[in-house]
Symmetry: C2
Subunit: 449 residues, 2 copies
């Protein structure tokens, strides 16, 4: 059995609903369907979730909410009418929204979470109803019924460990196609609590792990994951297959296909993920797997990101000082700074961090602490660094990858400020000046693809 | 004023004593002379220090020490006779050695330290006497008189902070050439305590810092420091000038010109060091300075070392776990493991350590702890790694260095397993298989020189 998740643009309009239904009905293994709230129908459209946030804000701030309310209802109206569903659905949605507003008018966080969640929830109800009209047995299943128990942090839910077993028990043996809203779960106290944004991916991943699906299909609006950000390089190569590790390295820097933590549940169960296009379902898509056969291409993709800085520390005989690195990291941890890499020489170490973490006086305090607590000879911050990551399993075992990459950068006149490649690694990181990141990305892309 | 240190081979025979005296007398600034014990006169010769260790062992173990005693005395006899010094010196040295043996016969550590120190001490007395015979005012100064107060750890002395001022006070205003034995100091309790081996360099460096010398000349038996280990590459380029930082990076791996900690005192006072050849004093030698002008060559030298291993750790979402790196280093510190580098990806980190540190069950224990305390997905040790370091200030600012290095390695068919280059660094580290280290070194040497 497969878990199939449809993103916002896949369920944005009656036409998209029809495509989704066709996809679901085309494969009998597609049993667990996760839907997002209606997304954008065109470039200048607004997402349902944004409309709902606007509605929640209007209510909470005591402003006139009728326009916001109307724009929410309009979207549902369009879907119900377009799919010739019973008009009753519209009035039911309207009544539910009004009840939610009445109940949480003075509890802004719950109001926000409940209204946001309604985007997915109502869409799931409509999808189940629509599939039923096509003659297939299909049911809406609420996250509560499904067993999606989460922590009680509005807007930042985390799945509880016991949820997976509950999900398996409650869903595995049910008949028909089950349509489950993404993006939220229920706390033990019975509250609706939403995941961080992009959370429908999380729901799909959790359900897939809970029912031990053979595959987690993730339908979005692109044919595949690309080897480089298509906004930066025109018509980049499609990736047919990549490993979780490769996905993580790419997702880190400039690839926003998945929410950071979304794949963790399927990763742990080694369930393959397939990214496909709702608008072009016959394209093979991209498979994300726990291990893959070498395909002759050591590099699978190239990612980039900007806005880093490097804290550069020098101390004579540093490498003879047991505990130096640990004490340095302790200072950063103490200041709630997370770091990316720590390239080091004999008497020097650089700590690469995202620059925004050093704002509001933190930089001065950290430099001061490094000076006085570690008695270093010199410490300074280098700003405006970017990183380009060349990613691929098996890269580490291929002679000449570093040469090819370094040559491409040298030929483009780009100075490499840092390099980081570990023994078991699937990526090679090049630190360059921020302003040269896009050039570096392009040069590397053309070298490897 | 200069502090001038002569290594063992520079003071191994009467002929070498004459060379040293000529060097000292050739420059009126050469006022503070540090001498080692007599070194090897030819390839199969034995060093005085080794003879003295043998003597100490014989005494301590109650064996017949007459042969060992005779071989020590023979060396002094040769020097005294060869330089036509008074015969009295020989009998004085003999009496001193006998007294030392009698006093410490039952205290092996003190016996060892006192006998070892006598090699330098007697040589300093003979050198002062010899220079005097040449018509120059010259005095032997004992480390005690000089103010060399050290910690009371036999064989592992460390200079005490107050020593520097004492040295300045006791030596700066004295007349004549002052000859001071290297390798040992006195504890506050009045004991002779030796530095770790190679410690005459340490004495010279401490005296230079104490008297605030304008230069520390270090005379040995090579014309200069070479850009690569001459045992591995034939006739390598000489280095005219390098910075302390470059020296440290080179000294780390395969360059044994200086004892690791020897340069710390002069480093802190920014006193330049000049390495010269007693047998060829007209050669310019190598200057080690705190900063140097770029000379158009970004790479100053290439070093290598073997016998490393890499602890490779993978954990999904590692980079989102604040404190992961710190807790990992804490485990290593706890197990008294010092590490070299920690190249990292998004969800993985490698810790490079010297392999001998993981013996005697430590490896199993550390892997176990990493598993259970850090809940990693995977951890394993990769063995037989070597490192090649390309060293040079300004390298980081030159486009194409990494490309040149990586190309040279690729052309030699060498797979790069790790790369480490930080933002402010003077070195670029390439990890390769142990068995390819020498090939890698040669390939890099020919690329840059």
């Amino acid at each position: 059995m497969k878990v199939v998740k449809f993103g916002g643009s896949s369920v944005a309009s009656p036409e998209q609903f029809q495509k989704v239904a066709n996809i679901v009905l085309a494969d009998r293994k597609r049993k667990f369907i996760i839907v997002s709230a209606p997304g954008k129908r065109h470039d200048v459209d607004r997402k349902m979730t944004d409309l709902l946030i606007q509605l929640a804000d209007s209510v909470a701030e005591g402003r006139d909410d009728s326009a916001a309310f109307a724009s929410v209802m309009e979207r549902y109206q369009e879907i119900v009418t377009g799919l010739s569903l019973e008009k009753l659905f519209v009035s039911e949605i309207q009544r539910n929204l009004q009840e939610t507003i009445a109940r949480y008018r003075h509890d802004r966080k719950r109001l926000m979470d409940s209204l946001k969640a309604s985007g997915e929830d109502n869409n799931a109800r409509l999808m189940a109803a629509y599939i039923t009209t096509l003659g297939q047995e299909a049911y809406y299943v609420s996250p509560k019924e499904a067993g999606m128990v989460v922590t009680n942090e509005p807007g930042n839910a985390r799945i509880l460990p016991e949820a997976f077993e509950r999900i398996g028990t409650s869903l595995k043996n049910r008949e028909g196609i089950l349509v489950i809203p993404g993006f939220f779960g229920y706390s033990k106290e019975g509250h609706i609590v939403t995941f961080p944004r992009g959370g429908s991916d999380i729901t799909g991943s959790i359900i897939a792990a809970g029912v031990e699906a053979e595959e987690y299909e993730n339908f979005t609006d692109v044919d595949s994951i690309y080897s480089v950000n298509p906004k930066l390089v025109r018509n980049p190569a499609e990736i047919k297959e990549l490993t979780y590790r490769e996905m993580r390295e790419l997702a880190y820097a400039g690839f926003s296909v998945f929410h950071d933590e979304a794949l963790q549940p399927v990763f742990h169960k080694k369930i393959p993920v397939c990214v496909k296009n709702t608008n072009h379902p016959e394209a093979p898509g991209t498979s994300i797997v726990s291990a893959r056969e070498p395909n002759g291409y050591p590099v699978v993709g190239i990612a980039s990101d900007k806005g880093f800085c490097s804290i550069n520390i020098t101390k004579y005989l540093m490498n003879r000082e047991l505990g130096f690195g640990r004490r340095l990291l302790e200072i950063l941890e103490d200041e709630h700074i997370s770091y990316e890499h720590t390239p080091s020489g004999i008497d020097n170490i650089s700590v690469i961090v995202r620059a925004h973490q050093l704002e509001n006086g933190k930089e001065e305090r950290i430099l001061q602490r490094i000076c006085t607590e570690l008695l270093v000879d010199e410490v300074h911050v280098e700003r405006n660094l970017g990183m380009v990551m060349v990613v691929g399993e098996g890269m580490a075992k291929t002679v000449g990858i570093a040469a090819k990459a370094a040559n491409a950068l040298a030929e483009a006149g780009i100075n490499i400020k840092m390099i980081n490649q570990g023994s078991s690694e699937v990526s090679m990181m090049f630190g360059v000046d921020d302003y040269q990141v896009n050039e570096a990305l392009t040069a590397l892309y053309h070298a490897f693809f």
